[in-house]
Symmetry: D2
Subunit: 324 residues, 4 copies
Amino acid sequence: MQNFMTIRTDLAIEAREMVTNHVSHDVSGVDVVTSKDEDVLITRVNITNQAAEDALGKPIGKYITIEAQGLKYNDADLHEKIAEFLAEELNGLIKISSTATVLVVGLGNRNITPDALGPKTIEKLVVTRHLKDMLLDDVKDHMRLVCAIEPGVLGITGMETAEIIQGIVTKIKPDMVIAIDALAAAASHRVNTTIQLANTGIHPGSGVDNKRFGLNQATLGVPVIAIGVPTVVHASTIAMDTIHALKEHASFARYFKSMETLSANECQTIVRQVLPETLGNLMVTPKEIDQIITDISTVVAKGINQALHEKIDYENIHTCIKYI
Amino acid sequence: MQNFMTIRTDLAIEAREMVTNHVSHDVSGVDVVTSKDEDVLITRVNITNQAAEDALGKPIGKYITIEAQGLKYNDADLHEKIAEFLAEELNGLIKISSTATVLVVGLGNRNITPDALGPKTIEKLVVTRHLKDMLLDDVKDHMRLVCAIEPGVLGITGMETAEIIQGIVTKIKPDMVIAIDALAAAASHRVNTTIQLANTGIHPGSGVDNKRFGLNQATLGVPVIAIGVPTVVHASTIAMDTIHALKEHASFARYFKSMETLSANECQTIVRQVLPETLGNLMVTPKEIDQIITDISTVVAKGINQALHEKIDYENIHTCIKYI
Amino acid sequence: MQNFMTIRTDLAIEAREMVTNHVSHDVSGVDVVTSKDEDVLITRVNITNQAAEDALGKPIGKYITIEAQGLKYNDADLHEKIAEFLAEELNGLIKISSTATVLVVGLGNRNITPDALGPKTIEKLVVTRHLKDMLLDDVKDHMRLVCAIEPGVLGITGMETAEIIQGIVTKIKPDMVIAIDALAAAASHRVNTTIQLANTGIHPGSGVDNKRFGLNQATLGVPVIAIGVPTVVHASTIAMDTIHALKEHASFARYFKSMETLSANECQTIVRQVLPETLGNLMVTPKEIDQIITDISTVVAKGINQALHEKIDYENIHTCIKYI
Amino acid sequence: MQNFMTIRTDLAIEAREMVTNHVSHDVSGVDVVTSKDEDVLITRVNITNQAAEDALGKPIGKYITIEAQGLKYNDADLHEKIAEFLAEELNGLIKISSTATVLVVGLGNRNITPDALGPKTIEKLVVTRHLKDMLLDDVKDHMRLVCAIEPGVLGITGMETAEIIQGIVTKIKPDMVIAIDALAAAASHRVNTTIQLANTGIHPGSGVDNKRFGLNQATLGVPVIAIGVPTVVHASTIAMDTIHALKEHASFARYFKSMETLSANECQTIVRQVLPETLGNLMVTPKEIDQIITDISTVVAKGINQALHEKIDYENIHTCIKYI
């Protein structure tokens, strides 16, 4: 079974599929509830004990995926609906007072298109923390104080993202953190079609860039909600998928029953032949990735705005301010 | 042999490799000369008769590839050297008077990063056609009149690029056209490491976008030099490469001698399972593609500037002008 | 009176104000009709004879301005309304069959933010000319075939925009041309608040860049509608306005009755002292110009899309196509 | 004298000019030393006591301006020279060990072109702090550990820049901070021609955006070097300059000796008539500002890289690293 796990995934739903595809029964300690309409499938995975954490390689906690093939198309009505679902699910995960301070962190590198989801989302948030003293009294009493940061990436800042966020959290003292990140998917059909929310934060090794740090309650001292969207698959995933498809192909199976003898190591060797390490980190994206990232960052920002701000939005924010 | 050719390539050098890998002797009608130094390999392929044209799927003509692994790295000295090689090879292909008018066409979509090579190169050219009346006499007499256009892509203009360029050529009457295009490579190791020049122009079905049109002497009435750089491989190429690697893998061959029974059709079926057509056009690029396209477009523009302008460059162009 | 006209303007409405501010009666040959609601003022200026053309410095023809202070703010509802007004007014100017071919030209330099209005509008148009053969019959019979081009600017292409467009028009044979351009305003309060439509096309000396060419029925052989938005004022306009304000200032007038002795030449001298020509072309823009150009180009594109396409838009275009 | 000071300036050299233009003698407590070659003028202003601080409105400290008209042109050789001067002057201001940790802060809004100088500079720095454990021993012992942050602006983050930087400084504990900022000039001829260094840090009310916070030894607890480049003038500065030019204009003075009666208040009224506050914050920039900011940010980054790193640069950094 081991070799199936060599395809690392940031999505709990994929981790669970990988496991359940290869064990004869459901994993105990993993509760799964789904709901769907014609366009959108929502799956809530609850990892409740250590055994399940070990089996899936995901910490104990709640993971929600919102899946819609239409997320990657320019479909305004569907995007609006997905943003509303995101807001609802986010509110389901947030147990936080109506006047709390929330820091939203946009992870990733804005100069690498599929990694720019976090930075692009940050730009579209309704931040309010700096308006506190200018807000009308009846608004102020039930308004969350939202602030946001794009910390940049290690190669440009020379600082671990966790160091930067720890520094800011110490100073700003938010009640919670929301971290937005572009992910690598384990299956190409999930690229730009899935939004994952998790109340477990960000853990080392995740994200397009395979982060070395964690952003979670343990490192920051406050609850951290992670919102992730798979925007790439690694080229090696395509190669590995092809090997698996080949192994399961009928004409193949017909001739060569003993295919299971192809070990994980041999698979690696073949992938390395197709994609030598010297080529660097090859990513697979749709051609239209620039437009898609613009669109999905808008969906994520709208979802967060709706979840955090009941009474204000971009359009009417000026009606809530005392002067200027 | 047929199924090997299903991996279409825009590079004559790859077409030749595919053919010669699978025939026991060199193809007649294909002359190949190479030269190299420690960093750069230059291969000049001359397709001289119809049989060779048919075998390689490339029109009769001259094809030059400049290959350097360092092209994709931020290495200023090597880039300078490659630009000089490009200028030399371009001058070898150009039989054109020193006062000729040259139209440079930057093909591709600037909003899709790996397809933006043409548009980004255009911006860095030293255009001179509009300066004609302002140039000092001794400069004017040996200066090429360079002009440039970024025609956009069919989905945004609603016009075939060939229509746009034909219209402009009719009006401007250039002595020759240079067309710059981002290509799809057949092998991932050639992505962003190879520049191809050809005196045959652009033919339908080439480029990242699989163009429906041709830009060549037949369609434009003047000689057309094509400069192409492979900036992506299609995800399906990775999958196909994996199948081929698997077929040649030792432990595989050991067990399953009859692998050749896996037909081209069966390969297609497997690739379609991994990459369903509904996913759209998935491209494989290095993570740093934005920076790489910026760098390579600079190399290509420098090469063209050096080839076309003996006496002027960006730095000293103001010394050639009579008055503003 | 002459010196007031040294402030050149691309807006017929400003030309008329300048003239009528300084003559005691209305200019004959200039019909003006206005309509307004709480947010938007529409002024239709009809220049009907040569005398009026000479007085206003604008060719005989129809000029419509849509003015709304809110155009420059991020106000989705108002922008929707302005787009509808634009579509209506454009339809009033267009006498053209329901199956005509229309070429839309986006003038300006996309690398200079306030000059990028034309290029940014082009990207958001619904182009249809290339879909002709794929459209369902009942759609095809009443659909305009829209195509679009961003010709670039002289300094980058080495070709006059008029040459490029003439070449394309000869090839494509559109029934009409719509040209979109960023303008310089004569008054800072009109920056990013006004859209002008004119059935006279583009004339030399207009636009942010003071074009040397014309795009009009005389140069292209088909009707040309110009759509212009003032996005900058020249710094010299601010200086000149200040001199005029000073001359009319009460405490000034009180002391110095003979102020009219300050000649146009002396004004020029003062402006040149404040803004020496060596500083180059200084433009005045709001700080938020990047966002504003994005927003207004969306409004203009929506207006054109609505005017040209009765039955299709971005959202439902796929329902009109036979097969991919 | 007061009304002359209503034109606020971020440049000590302009503050001094304003003062010395209107007092008959040099201000005591202000030492000025200049040096120049054919292209570049360097002025070192040393404000040494409280009286001088009050007179100039600039804190006690050292201010160096590097002025070159050619800074705004695309002149590679001159830019190289200016970068070297910047490195020298920066080294003159820095008393800091060869293994110190330096945090560079890129102030400003990357989405507002003339305010993007800081963010654009940050991207081009050689950061080294994260490489510490990978560096060869002989390099490590004399290498500064550089890190960098682009904190964003209040309207997007909801946090004062000072809060963000204080948080990071507390965590990272740098030995000094360098803050890079785009400034507003008091005179249009200084736009994009001047680099100012100061060992006094950033004070409230400075910068294109009139910051509300300070970044200096008092707020951060470590020395702060400010590097500023004026990239805009406010439109009101143009208007005010025009009034002053008019007052000093010969034909004017001839007729109206009592011009001094035009008070600061009356000037304000006139400026407000030309530029009503409802127009918002109008900035004056050259048309080519996008390219200019790209170029100047490269000059500033090179200067800082040279000053901080004796032994490494972009080209040879890989020779200093142990592995990976």
